[in-house]
Symmetry: C2
DNA sequence: GTCTATATAGCGATAGAC
DNA sequence: GTCTATCGCTATATAGAC
């Protein structure tokens, strides 16, 4: 690979700006309610110009979600370097998800039957990344079960789905919208209900 | 009130059929992807006839969600007659939600920023019912906290939102779609993660 | 109250000039 | 690659006959 030309760098910057706008709109309105006109307006270019960069609305959304997954992957890699137990790593992941969502930096994962879901399952890069991330998390889950920090009777994939579901939990946005609790306090409560349940820790 | 005429009864039956079809489509595709044409086709009447019964797509969805809430309310009333502790009642409610969803009888509650949410918050009957249901659940939650079955440090509304969120948890449909676990087994796992967390019960 | 046919509008995507 | 202008389709909602 040669060094990128000025032209290529400008293109890359422009496309980053597009993905930023898409990301913001996905957070704000979700895939179905987001329009390509809005994306173009947010970036400050004409709609037709958008289509020179990305071939479809689906590709726009996929690009944003792929970038989110890449950031998640980077966070996992950084976590893996630290001297932490498996359960502590999993909790850090959930906390990271909540922080990203609270700060409006991460779109909700698509629930079943959504348009976005079918878009993403058709995107090779996204599926590949999701598999890699799941691989890493799966290893930590099994380790946490051996450590006795996660219920050994739960199949690892059930645990994995439950963790992923934190990325589309409506409780966080509701509590944020309510505005009567502190950010960190909300994180503590939701981390608690996730790992210790509504009953709370038994030996505290 | 006089006794209903034959005409009124036929009207009511027809509208029940419409709400049934809407309910089914809401479960299947969600509000945004459901079209009024589909509803009409499912009922077997023309679209224009639908609009004689309900003034808009929004009203259709609201009617279906109101009926769901009425059924929830009836279940709560029945539960209140039984000799159960507060925590046991709350678990029964969560189990009921999961059963309804598993059997395709209950649409997912709308997450934040969805079209359906703004539709429902604008519907007086729905909001009123939701308040009544929340009142009952709120009482049980506080009792369960006094009993020590739910973490006393959690604000009751955080607990309430967490329970409501079980009605739009993607983990249940994913596990159902996977098809590799038994229905009752899935309920046990999800009930467990809800009340005892991923860590599981500590003194079991 | 049911139908057929149509109005109206929004949105994804494209044509074609520059 | 950027723009303006427009196509083509779909979906909500309505008109008007019966």
């Amino acid at each position: 690979m040669n060094a990128p030309t000025v032209r290529e760098r400008m293109l890359r910057v422009r496309e980053e700006a597009i993905v930023d706008a898409v990301n913001h709109l996905l957070v704000d309105k979700g895939y179905d309610l987001m329009t390509v006109d809005e994306v173009a307006a947010a970036v400050g270019i004409a709609k037709a110009s958008l289509y020179k960069h990305f071939p479809s609305k689906e590709a726009l959304a996929a690009a944003a979600m792929v970038r989110t997954l890449q950031r998640a992957q980077a966070f996992l890699a950084q976590l893996a370097l630290q001297d932490l137990g498996a359960a502590a790593r999993l909790k850090a992941v959930v906390r990271w998800i909540m922080q990203m969502q609270y700060d409006g930096a991460m779109p909700s994962l698509p629930s079943e039957n959504s348009t976005l879901r079918s878009v993403l399952t058709g995107d090779r890069a996204y599926v590949q990344l999701l598999m890699e991330v799941s691989e890493v998390l799966g290893g930590w889950i099994e380790q946490a079960q051996r450590d006795g920090d996660i219920d050994r009777r739960l199949p690892p994939d059930v645990v994995l789905f439950t963790l992923y579901a934190r990325a589309c939990d409506p409780v966080l946005p509701i509590l944020k919208a309510g505005g009567q609790y502190e950010r960190e306090q909300v994180f503590e409560w939701l981390l608690g209900t996730c790992f210790d349940g509504l009953a709370g820790p038994r030996q505290g």
